[in-house]
């Protein structure tokens, strides 16, 4: 970076956020050059740590004046490289200091938080007051922030009933790339509470959800809250085929029975997660772990009966409650123990539940083609999560034990991503993980509109340049 050019920028940034919250130190910049994905960023030029919306606004105005790119970042626990700068010398906005609960509005049953608040912290603070959020955060919700999830269409804990991260939002406060501050939903009226998303105008909230930080910096989000449940039921169910498990999953979701619904999709996955269980039930190919949470024990029990009926009708059987309970009591801690298998490479996407078995079949063909099924240095976990109604995540995660086998892994990884798109899957987040596979297939009209919106809102292309190829 040319220091003479940047000096006035640094000085002005320091006057906005304080000198201790602006850094051009090389080691500090390097520490922001990676996130939880296998991808690498162009090394940022500056790291800036604001605490308030107004500071973000001033920073973006300054960036426009000096034409310096800006990349917003949260807990950087995402696995698609969404917050990694694509251009050199960008300002990375580390938003994790913006982590306050702004307001709990019991009248509207909403919580307004700063965008840098981590999900696990939000859950803790709300639980002390007897509340929960519906969508609880991605599986990396210890470090994942509300803003980061909303920017990347996260799905995760609670998605079976409450949908993806964006479905919980009532209103957003966004700083536009040119520095103006916008409030969406009923927030358009400064005299109104932020209680309704779809009100008066079209849904501007949706414009910013999933934007990967290219259309604005989310500074506050107002989310729906609910009283903590009185009734909880856990259940793990074994199935002799992925087809049977998927059909049961579809029926459970159709009837909206589960708060959370996890599918261990193939026997290899069941053996990886639970070798003892795989040994005990040699016939089990897939496992469904179901969590029911309701306002009363009676409702939860009634739903449990319906759940058990569906499971029976599809040839499934009860195998305990350990996994569903563990999944819920160790929320946000279930993925990390898998890191021991080697570095992880993901294929996160969405698809209708009915199309899940096809994915598993095709994945097994790819594993066979590249000899992965016989190569202990590359392993996989195939799982899914019920989302909203009748779609689910497709999670085939590869683990590379031996970096020398990366060339094989790259082929498998690439083939999987191609097949996922070809079989009608859509990634929820995009980032460096998916752009290469997604962008060539985007319908012209869709992409053209996105381009026009980006140009209108960000005439100098300040905010996270090159994302989505823009």
């Amino acid at each position: 970076m040319n220091e003479d050019v940047m000096r006035p920028v640094v000085e002005e940034l320091e006057s906005i956020v304080g000198s201790e919250n602006v850094s051009s130190s090389k080691i500090i910049r390097l520490s922001y050059s990676e996130d939880a994905s296998p991808f690498h960023a162009r090394i940022p030029g500056l790291i800036v740590r604001p605490t308030e919306t107004l500071e973000v606004s001033q920073i973006l105005r300054l960036a426009n004046e000096y034409l310096v790119p800006v990349v917003p970042a949260g807990g950087r626990s995402g696995i698609c490289g969404a917050c990694l700068p694509r251009v050199p010398n960008a300002i990375v906005l580390d938003l994790t200091r913006m982590d306050n609960i702004v307001e709990i509005d019991e009248d509207s049953q909403t919580v307004t938080v700063q965008a840098g608040l981590r999900w696990a912290e939000l859950i803790y603070k709300l639980s002390k007051l007897g509340y929960k959020v519906g969508f609880r955060g991605p599986f990396g919700g210890n470090a994942g922030t509300v803003g980061g999830s909303l920017s990347s269409n996260s799905v995760g804990c609670g998605s079976a009933k409450w949908g993806s991260s964006g479905d919980s939002v009532v209103s957003l406060e966004v700083v536009l790339p040119t520095g103006e501050i916008l409030r969406t939903g009923s927030g358009w009226n400064p005299l109104a509470k932020k209680f309704a998303r779809y009100a008066t105008f079209n849904d501007l909230t949706g414009l910013f959800i999933g934007d990967h930080g290219i259309l604005g910096v989310k500074t506050e989000a107002t989310l729906k809250i609910y009283p903590l449940p009185e009734g909880k039921v856990f259940g793990d169910f074994g199935f002799n085929s992925i087809e049977a498990a998927s059909k049961a999953m579809y029926e459970i979701q159709k009837k909206k029975l589960a708060e959370e619904l996890v599918l261990m999709a193939d026997r290899h996955t069941v053996s990886s997660y639970a070798p003892q269980l795989a040994e005990k039930y040699p016939e089990v190919e897939s496992v469904l772990a179901v969590i029911i949470e309701e306002a009363s024990e009676e409702i939860a029990e009634a739903k449990k009966k319906l759940l058990e009926k569906i499971v029976r009708e599809h040839g499934g059987f009860f195998i305990g409650t350990f996994f569903s309970r563990l999944h819920w009591s160790e929320m946000f801690n279930v993925v990390q123990p898998l890191f021991e298998e080697g570095y992880w490479y993901n294929t996160c996407h969405l698809r209708p539940i009915t199309m899940f078995p096809e994915l598993i079949r095709k994945a097994h063909e790819i594993f066979k083609k590249h000899g992965v099924d016989k190569n202990p240095e590359i392993t996989w976990v195939a799982s899914g999560l019920g989302i909203d109604r009748c779609h689910c995540t497709g999670w085939i995660t590869l683990f590379l034990k031996n970096p020398e086998k990366k060339h094989i892994l790259e082929k498998v990884w690439s083939d999987l991503r191609k097949v996922i798109i070809e079989t009608g899957g859509v990634p929820y987040w995009t980032g460096l993980l998916w752009e290469e596979y997604v962008l060539p297939r985007v319908h012209y009209g869709f992409f053209d509109l996105l381009k026009k919106i980006k140009r209108t809102l960000d005439p100098n292309n300040i905010l996270h340049p090159l994302v989505f190829g823009l």
Binding site: E20, N21, S23, S25, K26, I27, I28, L30, S31, Y32, S33, E34, D35, A36, I47, R49, G75, R76, S77, D94, T96, R97, R118, A120, E121, I123, Y124, S127, G140, G141, N142, A143, Y273, A274, P275, Q276, L277, E279, K280, I319, G320, T321, F322, F323, L326, S329, E330, M331, F332, N333, V335, Q336, P337, F339, E340, G342, Y343, W344, P403
Partner: protein, 541 residues
């Protein structure tokens, strides 16, 4: 700058690769989501703010150093010494068994830097002080024991037990040493104090000067062996960790004597005795776990047991405790290298104590005490446990005669404890060293009525176990059982029946009869430890 060979860091290269960069090491709050007293674990990052100072950032930077994308300069040198090596990141990390050991990796880096000439001026003067004056503070060595005055003549030069005072309590926190000596004498233990005690070399190891520390270790251990010492007691967890963990490693041999912290000695001594302490005033106290005593040596319960023995004192725990307690900021050479940083970290810990309305913050480490006291400019009293015992219970410790036997109804918890003692086959399959807590709770209030823990001493068909009251230090699992469920468990005649009942209470809990399990390790790790066998038989997995 010259090229640096990272031979020590390279021993950990695999761990740099296995870090999944999830960010838990600094950003996690696991209080509600996994019932762990953990919140923003990296005390240094909580002050300095940037990613470079937490474990994830440090591992990213180390990868850049190893691949020559970053060269060593003053900035890197400064950064290398900003880690207190407290180990909170390691406790939080679930990526590998026991967590990625970033503190050891940072110490490896320091060894590489030191061995290739990258040294702090400040450190060199401390090195000189230790070499010439036997203490890092630059104090006259002949004055090391002068604080004892005439008392010294009453303390033997030789005994089976040696109290190792340490440099900090010899020169800076003499009150802790005086308190320790009072209790050791009071409990009629004959003990000695080394007349020519020297620095243990802890600070040298933390800075990366291994060879110099080894010289200290050799000299001290030789002397203690020549004296045929059986036990060395410490009040400084820094010295204690250095003796217990570092010395066997750098000397390549067993020390030939037992090492104990004073709180362990007192806790063990008091266990079977009716000794009560009486405080001057009703006070709310809280306890800060020193990293070297807690995370590094797994001593969590002994200090708490002692505090709970003091009448009229209420122990209220802070938000982060035990293996997830925030560091005070003084360790790992940070206090001497970056005193302002150490103080800011301590202020955050003081705030945690104030949040629970404590009027006294207790610890069991002279280094923690000094740093926390310096930061507590708001009326909070900061004391070492030993000192607190001396200061607040001015009444003599009273030996109470054993009570006459009362007829008391045996609680369901106690019955389960007795039952487990007689049915050790329940623990078949568990590895030696497994330890797990039981909490027998009131089914209505969910309040614990009895806490005990089991340790596996020998594995086998009928394993040898030890059941003790209270909670284990760093347990693998906590099993919560309602009293009605415990009542039914004790009626089971054999393991299979017990396992089935256990599984039913877990899988099909009722309002009154239930079992819950809190895991303190990953399921993979627990499987390796042998917990899978019972879990499978019980139908948990």
């Amino acid at each position: 700058m010259a090229k640096v060979e990272f031979s020590n860091v390279k021993k950990f290269e695999n761990f740099l690769y296995l870090c999944g960069k999830c960010g838990d090491c600094s950003l996690a709050v696991k209080i509600a989501t996994s019932k762990s007293p953990l919140s923003h674990p990296c005390a240094v990052k909580n002050v300095l703010g940037y990613e470079a100072y937490d474990a994830r950032g440090r591992l990213i930077i180390l990868k850049n150093l190893l691949s020559d994308k970053l060269e060593v300069n003053e900035e890197v040198l400064d950064w290398a010494y900003t880690c207190t090596t407290c180990g909170a990141c390691r406790e939080t990390c679930l990526a590998v068994e026991g967590g990625i050991d970033t503190p050891s990796i940072m110490e490896a880096l320091r060894r590489d830097l030191v061995s290739q000439g990258f040294r702090f001026e400040k450190h060199l003067s401390i090195l000189e002080n230790i070499k010439n004056l036997d203490n890092p503070y630059g104090e006259p060595k002949e004055e090391r024991l002068s604080f004892l005055g005439e008392e010294l003549s009453n303390i033997p030069e030789k005994a089976d037990i040696v109290y190792f005072i340490g440099c900090t309590s010899s020169y800076r926190t003499k009150e802790i040493a005086l308190a320790a000596i009072k209790f050791l004498k009071q409990f009629k233990k004959e003990f000695a104090v080394l007349r020519d005690e020297t620095c243990c070399g802890s600070i040298l190891l933390r800075y990366g000067y291994v060879n110099e520390a080894k010289e200290q270790a050799e000299r001290l251990v030789k002397k203690l062996n020549e004296m045929n010492v059986k036990t060395v007691i410490f009040t400084c967890p820094g010295c204690y960790r250095t003796f217990k963990k570092d010395y066997p490693e750098i000397l390549g041999r067993d020390l030939g004597f037992e090492t104990l912290h004073l709180v362990e000695f007192l806790d063990t001594y008091l266990k079977d005795k009716n000794i009560v302490f009486e405080a001057k005033n009703d006070e709310i106290v809280t306890y800060h776990d020193p990293c070297h005593l807690g995370r590094h040596l797994d001593v969590y319960e002994a200090p708490r047991n002692i505090i709970k023995r003091i009448k009229d004192i209420k122990l209220i725990e802070m938000e982060t405790i035990k293996n997830f307690a925030h560091c005070c900021g003084a360790g790992g050479g940070v206090k001497s290298t970056f005193p302002d940083l150490a103080l800011k970290v301590a202020r955050n810990r003081i705030d945690e104590a104030l949040e629970v309305n404590a009027s006294i913050l207790l610890s069991a480490c002279p280094f923690c005490k000094l740093n926390l006291k310096q930061a507590a400019d708001n009326g909070l009293k900061v004391l070492d446990i030993a000192e607190f015992l001396v200061e607040t219970q001015v009444h003599e410790v009273v030996e109470v005669a054993p009570k006459t036997v009362e007829v008391v109804e045996i609680s369901p918890g106690k019955r389960l404890m007795d039952y487990l003692n007689g049915h050790v086959e329940i623990f078949k399959g568990l590895r030696v060293g497994c330890k797990f807590n039981y909490e027998i709770v009131d089914w209505k209030t969910q309040e614990p009525k009895l806490k005990f823990y089991v340790m596996v001493l020998e594995s086998g068909e009928r394993p040898k176990i030890k059941i003790s009251m209270g909670a284990a230090d760093n347990p693998d699992v906590t099993i919560i059982i309602s009293e009605p469920a415990a009542e039914k468990l004790v009626k089971c005649e054999e393991r299979s029946e017990y396992a089935e009942a256990f599984g039913n209470f877990f899988n099909e809990p009722t309002e009154e009869e239930f079992i819950d399990v809190i895991l303190h390790r990953s399921t993979k790790e627990l499987m390796r430890m042998g917990y899978g066998e019972f879990a499978r038989e019980a139908g948990l997995i």
